[in-house]
């Protein structure tokens, strides 16, 4: 399940982009899930663990991927137990966050009202312990805290 803390936490990784650059592993990049996320969010094609073909930037390394897709990969593959700032992700990453949380518990902080769509989904708001299942319930709960 996706668990969200609205607002900042002292121990959150606020800048997942930087954290990814120093912690990612080559095998993450060539994982089929990562390839799909990179194709969808960054519109780019993974050539190898070191090279990605971006339609805008040309041949890039994983460090030049967007902050959003780097955060998604951290949520998918990082095993440190750290809590990442989900607001490094744009709304075009929201469906992937929900998908990743289908298979395991994921905890993130959010500093903005991310758009997860109309629902149905299942998100626990850690600030008040409520579980919300659609956009209406999401909106009734999140903006009290940010």
């Amino acid at each position: 399940m996706l668990k969200v803390y609205m607002g900042g936490l002292e121990n959150e990784i606020y800048n997942p982009d930087m954290y990814f650059n120093n912690q990612y592993e080559d095998k993450w990049i060539t994982d089929e899930l990562a390839k799909a996320m990179i194709a969808d969010v960054d519109k780019s094609v993974v050539i190898s663990s070191h090279v990605i073909d971006s339609p805008v930037l040309g041949a890039i390394t994983p460090k030049e991927l967007s902050g959003g897709v780097k955060t998604l990969m951290l949520l998918a593959f990082d095993t440190s137990g750290n809590i990442f700032n989900g607001s490094a992700c744009g709304d075009n990453c929201a469906k992937w966050i929900l998908k990743l949380a289908e298979d395991k518990d994921i905890t993130i902080t959010l500093h903005h009202g991310m758009r997860f769509g109309a629902g149905p989904f299942e998100i626990e708001i850690l600030n008040n312990g409520k579980i919300v299942r659609n956009r209406h319930e999401w909106l009734e709960n999140i903006y009290n805290f940010i």
Binding site: K43, G58, G90, Y143
Partner: protein, 328 residues
């Protein structure tokens, strides 16, 4: 700092081009639209100049500010456009908000935070998109586009609730003019508007607020609208701006200011345009029978002879002039 500035940043592959005209501009939107790339190019240029292979054209110096000793570094930056990327946590702090208020720089903030402690305009929140203007060129041309457009809207049915940000003269005016048609409620400040909208979910709502300082609220209100709520937005620069437009725009000096406020509003003296327009109206009307006070509406503005001008200004707000239509 005053004025509007075109910023052009390009290398062989990418080009960013946009105008900055207020002290606070916010850039947000989807991932992978080029926000961090823009900051990276500016940073490379700042460190290496033309040797970076990047060109930056702007009448003002463009500077990237990061979290390392940001307070000390900001003190040494003056009369510049300061860019801050989204990974910088200090952007949401009270210390940063105070520093913006005391600064003569313009700030471009790349962030999805609502930044409730900064009074920024709904008109200065942008996304980045690939422009169709130069489609087909080898260089990919990126431009800013407004995320929240204040188009002319029809304002709902007679049973609507009019939620007015102001509690004093602005509220008194709207209640006097529209109180028979709509149920008028004062939000007693912008941060309460969302709460009131949540509470009256059964009815259509018209939000009347000062657009020049309402940026922090707009995201969550748009989110409610996406959820199917009937919400109509009336967000002129400010109530005082409307009064100036309605009653004093025949005065050449006032007309010039209203036409291009950025050329007259010093960002260090006024953290938001809303505050400038209040001061400007007070000075403009001091000692006359139009004398304006923020505490209570001067009955002159509600007199039947004067009211049509203001109602006209409200009804025409958001409609493009013939010249603007031709320009667009």
């Amino acid at each position: 700092m005053k004025g509007q500035y075109r910023v052009t940043i390009f290398n062989k592959r990418l080009r960013f081009e946009f105008d900055i005209r207020r002290n606070i501009t916010v850039v947000r939107g989807d991932s992978a639209t080029g926000k961090t790339t823009l900051i990276g190019m500016l940073s490379n240029y700042e460190q290496n100049g033309v040797a970076s292979g990047i060109t930056v054209n702007c009448a003002k110096k463009c500077v990237v500010l990061d979290s390392i000793r940001w307070q000390v570094n900001l003190q040494s930056i003056s009369d510049s456009i300061v860019f801050i990327d989204e990974g910088e946590k200090f952007i949401g702090s009270d210390e940063f908000a105070a520093a913006v208020g005391a600064s003569d720089n313009y700030f471009v903030l790349i962030t999805r935070h609502n930044l409730p402690n900064l009074p920024y305009s709904v008109q200065e929140i942008y996304g980045i998109r690939i422009s169709q203007k130069y489609a087909g060129f080898k260089q990919i041309y990126n431009e800013f586009y407004p995320l929240y457009e204040a188009d002319k809207q029809e304002y709902g049915s007679d049973s609507a609730v009019m939620v007015i940000e102001d509690s004093k003269s602005g509220f008194e005016f709207f209640e006097a003019v529209y109180g028979k048609k709509y149920q008028c409620v004062s939000a007693q400040g912008k941060s309460n508007v969302y709460r009131l909208l949540l509470a009256c979910s059964e009815k259509a709502c018209i939000v009347v607020a000062d657009g020049a300082a309402f940026g922090a609220e707009i995201e969550r209100i748009y989110h409610l609208m996406e959820d199917g709520r009937k919400i109509y937005l009336f967000l002129p620069e400010s109530f005082e701006w409307l009064l100036l437009k309605a009653h004093f725009s025949e005065n050449n000096a006032v007309a010039k200011v209203l036409e291009a406020p950025e050329n007259y509003i010093d960002s260090k003296a006024y953290i938001s345009w809303e505050r400038f327009f209040t001061d400007f109206l007070i000075k403009q009307t001091a000692g006359t029978y139009w004398q304006y006070s923020k505490q209570h509406i001067n009955p002159v503005y509600l007199h039947e002879k004067n009211l049509p001008k203001m109602v006209n200004a409200i009804q025409n707000y958001g409609r493009k002039s013939e010249k603007e239509m031709q320009d667009s």
